[in-house]
């Protein structure tokens, strides 16, 4: 693949002791001939995630795995901006540590970007070759309902608004982060809607999503209310 591009993979973690080791291994397995670095933004996980990251640095090198920790849990949105500040690549990949986002798709993100010259490549679960595993009927229903509502009201031009497995041109990500104010779940949606409104070239690649094996989904009543608020917010501000 192209040699002048460098990819900074930002992985926010909070209590991902086991997952971070697995994901780092898989990233190195699937990105062979690519210049990349992994930036782990850990928010002082009490389970010792950072200790594992240091062990991984011994295996893979401190220049390939950067630990950019913060003292306490400060939330996902700011974790991204913190990571970007330390990114040395011209492209940034954002992915979750919990193995819902499988590193085997990284080459297809990179390939898609090289082919199309897009500023953003976003992973989508709702197309052919994409998919989700491990959701019950209720989870699927909320997901579809949320998607139909957002598609009808916002016309975003992307099929999967809340997925967060994405590749960004670094300058574009910086621009978007500085113009997005939402927190948590809505943040991903705001990023892609604003990107679409700003006219950035967005491409999609299919990904599969295996729900985290440990713990249950946090999508409860309060998340739905947050989501609806986010939708209204985006309606009137973008």
């Amino acid at each position: 693949m192209e040699d002048k591009n460098k990819y900074s993979i930002i992985i926010p973690t909070y209590n991902e002791r086991l997952n971070i080791a697995l994901i780092v291994y898989l990233v190195f397995k699937h990105l062979r001939d690519v210049d990349f670095e992994i930036i782990v933004v850990d928010d002082g996980s009490p389970d010792g995630t950072q200790e594992i990251v240091k062990q991984l640095q011994q295996v893979y090198g401190e220049d390939r795995i950067l630990l950019r920790a913060r003292p306490k849990k400060l939330g996902l949105g700011t974790a991204y901006s913190h990571g970007v500040k330390h990114a040395s690549g011209n492209f940034v990949v954002i992915m979750d540590a919990d193995l819902s986002h499988h590193p085997k798709y990284l080459p297809s993100f990179i390939k898609k970007q090289l082919e199309t010259g897009a500023s953003i490549v976003t992973g989508t679960r709702y197309v052919k070759d994409g998919g989700v595993h491990g959701w019950n009927l209720m989870r699927k229903l909320t997901s579809r309902g949320a998607n139909v509502l957002a598609q009808t009201l916002l016309w975003p031009g992307v099929s999967d608004l809340t997925g967060s497995f994405r590749l960004y041109r670094k300058s574009v990500l910086e621009d978007l982060i500085s113009s997005c104010v939402s927190k948590g779940y809505v943040f991903q949606m705001e990023m892609i809607v604003r990107a679409s409104r700003k006219g950035y070239h967005i491409e999609e690649v299919p990904i599969t999503f295996v729900d985290r094996v440990y713990g249950s989904s946090k999508l409860g009543g309060s998340e739905i209310v947050e989501y609806l608020k986010g939708l209204v917010y985006l309606l009137v501000t973008t």
Binding site: L18, A21, L22, Y25, L26, E51, I52, Q55, L56, Q58, V59, L99, H102, R125, Y126, V127, K128, G130, G131, V132, H133, G134, L137, K140, L141, R144, G145, N147, V148, L149, T152, L153, L154, W155, R197, T208, F209, V210, L234, L235, V236, T237, T238
Partner: protein, 89 residues
């Protein structure tokens, strides 16, 4: 233009169309008066239909969970002897 303005414009355009229809009384007035209700009902049906179709065609990938388990075993096998604590078993 804010997105809400676009949607409002669309709604205003549709209302204007409806108002016009009432004026020229091409269709019986009693029918024309009911049109907004049909519109809302149609919109609701469309939403339900889309959600229903989406649910029925929800793409799943059970084989991916199996592959992931294999990847996890492989990763542990590689990392353990290299001094990374990947837990027991």
């Amino acid at each position: 233009m804010k997105h809400i303005v676009k949607i409002m414009t669309l709604l205003v355009a549709i209302s204007a169309l409806w108002g016009g229809l009432l004026q020229i009384s091409m269709v019986p007035r009693s029918h024309a008066l009911l049109l907004p209700i049909y519109f809302v009902v149609c919109l609701g049906c469309y939403g339900l239909l889309m959600v229903g179709v989406g649910l029925m065609q929800f793409p799943t990938c059970p084989q991916e969970a199996v592959l992931l388990q294999q990847d996890i075993i492989e990763a542990k096998k590689y990392l353990k002897p290299r001094g990374v604590d990947v837990g027991s078993d």
